[in-house]
């Protein structure tokens, strides 16, 4: 559940969610659940040519299992905390 806990710390930040069908949506992270379903607000589609209708979308819910990558803001990564959390997860505590 490391990624779930980690993504929760990014709520409110700008992220870009890349789907397995090659759609990439940028927006402010509204919420994430344990299945890594992601809700974005004030979204913008990176490649508007492919899905022109997505331009009009402002709030969206993305199914966790179709996410390929989540691009994070560089400043949103607390490397030390993440290292520590990863070690704790590996130890199973």
């Amino acid at each position: 559940m490391l990624f779930y806990s980690y993504f929760k710390t990014l709520v409110g930040q700008q992220v870009t969610v890349e789907l397995k069908n090659d759609l990439a949506i940028t927006g402010s992270l509204h919420s994430v659940d344990q299945y890594l379903n992601i809700k974005l607000e004030n979204t913008r589609v990176v490649d508007e040519g492919k899905y022109p209708h997505m331009m009009s979308v402002k709030n969206c819910f993305i199914r966790g299992s179709v996410v390929r990558y989540v691009q994070l803001p560089a400043g949103g990564v607390e490397v030390d905390i993440l290292h520590d959390a990863t070690r704790r997860e590996a130890r199973g505590t």
């Binding site: 069908n21 299945y35 009009s56 969206c60 819910f61 199914r63 299992s65």
Partner: protein, 217 residues
């Protein structure tokens, strides 16, 4: 509409009052009903008149005057609120649908994505419909989702957990499996091995070793 797009299944049966029949075997329950909703696949309306949307614990279904269909949440990759009049004249729910077979393949240019729009007659209720779709989508994780929260099926435990008996059942099962893999030979097996190869358990001929050592010296 003659043929339904990928990921969309026809619903032809209705109950006595014309409402959706749920699949009780799959613990399906109707959570939200919204009448007077039009549907488009791409730019094409399913029927000229509006129908009723059912949000169940398993799928989104729509029943019109003569046609009906359902889309399982596992096929809906994303859903969103769209209010831009340039994209569609009325506020609507925009969804992308893929057939479950194509989901998760990734990197495949041939993935067929269907754009489905639900257009409520009462656009004030758009947020409500969106929230129900979110809540019910969250009830349908993929069957292979690796939920590690309670440690079930995991074989990494620390000392304290083992003392407290965490995962005892998993560990016992694992040990049984290892035991089953270890096939100890019986006395009869030894006899057979020796009869096939009488020198099997003899020490290596020391003379050979000596020769090698003297050659190497």
């Amino acid at each position: 509409m003659e043929e339904l797009p990928a990921g969309v299944e026809a619903v032809s049966n209705r109950d006595g009052s014309g409402s959706l029949i749920v699949n009780a075997d799959d613990e399906e329950e109707i959570k939200y009903v919204m009448p007077n909703v039009s549907v488009l696949f791409g730019q094409e309306p399913v029927e000229a008149t509006a129908g009723t949307v059912y949000v169940t614990t398993r799928r989104v279904a729509w029943l019109g005057e003569s046609q009906g269909f359902g889309v399982t949440f596992r096929s809906i990759t994303m859903h969103a609120i769209s209010r831009d009049p340039e994209a569609h004249s009325q506020p609507c729910i925009y969804t992308q649908v893929e057939s479950p077979e194509s989901l998760g393949i990734g990197d495949d240019e041939d993935i067929e994505v269907t754009e489905m729009r639900l257009i409520p007659g009462d656009s004030e209720k758009l947020d409500e419909l969106f929230r129900w779709l979110c809540d019910c989508a969250a009830l349908n994780p993929d069957p292979d989702f690796d939920d590690q929260e309670d440690g079930a099926g995991e074989f990494y435990f620390d000392e304290e957990e083992i003392i407290n008996g965490v995962g005892a059942e998993d560990r016992a099962n694992m040990l049984d499996r290892f035991d089953a893999m270890l096939e100890m030979p019986t006395a009869g097996d030894f006899d057979q091995l020796i009869s096939e190869d009488p020198g099997r358990f003899e020490d290596e001929d020391e003379g050979v070793v000596d020769d090698r050592m003297s050659n190497g010296a």
